[in-house]
């Protein structure tokens, strides 16, 4: 391609983002050229700041600009209840719900021997340490409902079981507002397994 160097570098940077192919990268790069200089500067600053100023909370592993994070510092939240999730995005999803008043622990992944990810490679050791000192009474395992997420939840539950802490797994089944007829067989059979007394 015959682009001047500054723009070809910009295109190259855009292609590093997920979901952006070469064509979209070119479109975005040319769009940047048309933008107001102030907007471009803001954009560049946000990118750098997001990287420089955000760290992982030393307690729960969530992304934060202060350590410990605002959720860990919030004294109105119940410290005896911890929800274990795979990803910072899962914390944000849970927080949108506004119903959960406990704290979190972010694993940053799931155990997968095939990809060389063992329990020590994700935030399992820090979770075990937390359970030792913090007087936690219940652990909600909210890892993803696939093989790796399920295995990770089962692994943690085996590890923690001797301590007597109550452990729960989030339910899986039908999405709210959905139609029964559109559910696939596997989800339906899970939903049936987890049915409740009325």
């Amino acid at each position: 391609m015959y682009y001047p160097e500054p723009i070809s570098k910009l295109i190259d940077s855009f292609t590093k983002l997920p979901g952006i192919g070469p064509k979209t990268a070119v479109r975005l790069a040319f769009f940047v050229l048309e933008m107001e200089e102030d907007d471009v500067l803001d954009f560049a600053k946000s990118l750098v700041n997001a990287k420089r100023e955000l760290t992982h909370c030393s307690t729960c592993g969530h992304i934060t600009d202060q350590d410990p994070c605002s959720i860990c510092q919030d004294e109105s939240r119940d410290p005896t209840l911890i929800c274990v999730v795979q990803d910072p995005k899962d914390v944000i999803a849970m927080e949108k719900m506004k119903d959960f008043r406990g704290k979190y622990h972010v694993l940053h992944g799931a155990i997968s021997p095939m990809d060389g990810i063992g329990p020590e490679d994700i935030n399992v050791p820090s979770l075990i340490n937390r359970l030792k000192d913090e007087g936690v009474e219940e652990l909600i395992l909210a890892t993803n409902p696939n093989i790796e997420g399920e295995a990770t939840a089962m692994y943690i539950s085996r590890l923690v079981k001797p301590s007597g802490i109550r452990m729960t797994r989030i339910a899986h089944g039908l999405p709210v507002g959905g139609d029964l007829e559109y559910a696939d067989e596997v989800t339906l059979s899970k939903a049936l397994e987890g049915r409740r007394e009325l």
Binding site: P113, M114, G118, I147, A151, Y155, R158, L159, D184, E185
Partner: protein, 372 residues
């Protein structure tokens, strides 16, 4: 059910092709390497979204082409609907009634196909893998959730084998994760074996009388399941699970030593007996063929009883492999009720009423002429 129309685009040696078929018998005639099997394979791929000849979808796309396409118009339960498979370097798409199906288990089963090719004569004497594939594909097309369990099982198995390799190297092993994966594996292993048992019971019901018929009441066929774990068909799902649990507890140390999973449905096999003798070891070539033929014919009846309609039968270059008596038994059984595709280099020597009213297609270098 039957295929009314089939169109191919950039599929193997076919550039572009569009055909309408007879509801009963279609004979595809051509010299070797002209595209007979490719046409049969296309119908198979339309049903199973994968080839019976190769695991690599890329090979199905015509040389130099970006993508290949198979489209079929299917008539089933008094309803006509289209199926479409699009193959490209990036992967494949399976569309049922114009709607893309994200999961193959939602697609497979829409079109039921039974294929009988020379390789299938190996069903009896070939490797256990051939028989496992046979049983898995057949259950899969009548019970879509079976494919889901099989897929999950294979994923967990890969994870477990990786972990076992790692443990084998380390020596100071933490076995907690292994036990987690064992529990996960057992969940699916028990379901798979349970479904295989129920399928075998059905298969026996059909195959035994058919085999008697082909062998003129001289041979009695029995089918047994040879499992890597002491399970039996009388066990319910819970008993199966606890049996697997015991086995895996027993062999844990050995599995870590060897660095691989040593038991489970992926190591099981089928054994066929004729008059009490293991056909694989002691049967004659003829008995092995009769057994393979009985199983295929049983499959047709089984699908009919489970799905409510006869599947489509693909006889790829196999009629000439059978003697006159077996040939006419086969053609007689399917006559008038099963849409059949027969591929052969020559129609001479196959004399049967069924072929008289057949639609004849001549294949030459990737083009097809219809003979009226």
């Amino acid at each position: 059910m039957y295929i009314q129309e089939l169109s191919l685009r950039s599929y193997r040696n076919y550039d572009q092709l569009s055909l309408s078929f007879d509801h009963k018998i279609n004979v595809i005639i051509g010299e070797n390497a002209q595209g007979k099997t490719n046409l049969m394979e296309a119908i198979y791929v339309l049903a199973f979204a994968r080839s019976h000849r190769t695991p690599r979808d890329k090979e199905l796309i015509q040389w130099d082409a970006e993508y290949g396409k198979i489209k079929g118009s299917i008539f089933k339960r008094n309803r006509r609907f289209p199926l479409e498979i699009v193959l490209s370097n990036k992967g494949k798409k399976a569309k049922l009634n114009h709607i893309e199906q994200k999961r193959l288990s939602d697609y497979i089963g829409a079109l039921n196909v039974v294929m009988f090719a020379p390789e299938d004569l190996n069903l009896v004497k070939g490797s256990p893998q051939v028989r496992r594939r046979f049983i898995d594909m057949e259950i899969g097309q009548i019970q879509p959730t079976y494919i889901y369990h099989l897929g999950q099982y294979q994923k967990i198995l890969r994870q477990r084998n990786h972990l076992l390799k790692e443990l084998q190297r380390k020596r100071e092993a933490d076995l907690t994760m292994l036990r987690v994966l064992t529990d996960q594996l057992i969940e699916h292993a028990a379901t798979i074996v349970d479904r295989r048992f129920r399928f075998l019971q059905l298969l026996r019901e059909w195959a035994t009388p058919i085999h008697e018929g082909i062998s003129r009441n001289l041979e009695q066929l029995e089918i047994a399941y040879d499992a890597s774990v002491k399970v039996s068909e009388a066990m319910d799902l819970e008993t199966l699970k606890s049996t697997y649990q015991e086995k895996f507890t027993d062999i844990e140390t050995k599995e870590v030593e060897r660095g691989t999973t040593l038991a489970g449905p992926h190591r099981d096999d089928l054994v066929f007996f004729v008059n009490g003798k293991d056909v694989q070891t002691y049967g004659s070539q003829g008995q092995q063929r009769t057994t393979a033929l009985s199983l295929k014919l049983a499959e047709i009846e089984l699908i009919h009883s489970e799905v409510g309609e006869y599947p489509i039968l693909l006889l790829d270059d196999v009629l000439s492999e059978l003697d006159d008596y077996r040939q006419s038994h086969l053609l007689h059984t399917i006559q008038g009720k099963v849409q059949t595709f027969v591929s052969t280099t020559s129609i001479d020597g196959i004399e049967h009423d069924a072929l008289k009213e057949a639609e004849i297609f001549h294949v030459k270098e990737g083009t097809i002429d219809v003979q009226k």
